[in-house]
């Protein structure tokens, strides 16, 4: 079945980030692959990767909210230049209740930058923040009754 997920790049702390997210979302990291685990076909003649780079995360995966695939890796500047943590993309979480939004917000925004703490924003119950690792999140619940 067709699906959509989100892929996040970090500057060397992807494992710490994914461990944090697994705790927040009460889920497990399904897989971790490091750059050192990966042997490019015919790459024997290529430049040797540093031990530091080998230990970095090439891919890590988890499911949040049951079936949403969240992946992360460490960005290596040699592939595609420096990492730029933008604010043009956010992950929006629609929970089952405002109480659940409050609970997850407290966990996920800890140490981050809150732009809008959970509150009735007119169009719904809403929150907007950047977590301590630079990922942008929003919460949104429709207001009923």
């Amino acid at each position: 079945m067709a699906s959509v997920g989100t892929y996040l790049n970090f500057d060397g702390n992807a494992e710490e980030v994914m461990t944090f997210y697994a705790g927040v979302f009460d889920t497990q990291i399904m897989s971790i692959m490091r750059y050192g685990d990966f042997q490019m076909e015919g790459a024997e003649s290529g430049p040797e990767m540093s031990d530091e780079a080998k230990a970095k995360i090439m891919n890590s995966q988890m499911l949040i909210f049951g079936d949403y695939l969240l992946q992360a890796s460490d960005h290596l500047a040699e592939f595609g230049g420096p990492l730029v943590q933008g604010n043009n993309t956010a992950i929006v979480l629609m929970t089952d209740s405002t109480a659940e939004t409050d609970r997850l917000f407290a966990l996920l925004s800890d140490g981050g930058t809150v732009r809008f703490a959970p509150a009735n924003a007119g169009f719904g119950y809403f929150a907007d923040f950047t977590d301590k690792f630079g990922t942008n999140w929003m919460f949104y619940n429709t207001l009923e009754g």
Binding site: M1, A2, S3, V4, G5, T6, Y7, L8, N9, F10, F25, D26, T27, E41, I64, F65, G66, Y68, L69, Q71, H75, G80, G81, L83, V84, Q85, G86, N87, N88, T89, A90, I91, V92, L93, M94, T95, D96, E100, R115, F123, G134, T135, N136, M138, Y140
Partner: protein, 149 residues
Amino acid sequence: MAGQVQTYLTFTGRAEEALNFYAGVFGSNIESIMRWGDMPTAEGDAPMPDEVKNLVMNSQVLILGGHPVMIADMPDAALDEAFEPVVVGNNVTIVLSPASRTEADELFAALSADGKVRMPMAEMFWGDYYGELTDKFGVRWMIDTPAKK
């Protein structure tokens, strides 16, 4: 823990163009669109410049598998310090997992029009059919399907 995940994209004036582009690529309808000028104003608010009024404040389009993408414009930060400058990053990528390689090729071709192909669709070492691109609006996409045809 149940719930739904959506994606929010912020642009600096091209939101409506992007909205129409994605609706075309994914063969879907624009679910809603609200402009900055539609916002209720309170007495004493500074008048909103005309170039801001027509910008998209919030809109929604459904992409692959019905995933909702919200799209908005952030007005120029020079107009009002409340408008946070938009930084286009390379830290977030939307991953599409279509059900077939044919659909993967079609989506890749449509999304990469006038954009930048970072990795053309090809079978990868982990067995999936995979490609990467940045579209003409600066949004990053990966297309990854385990399907064999």
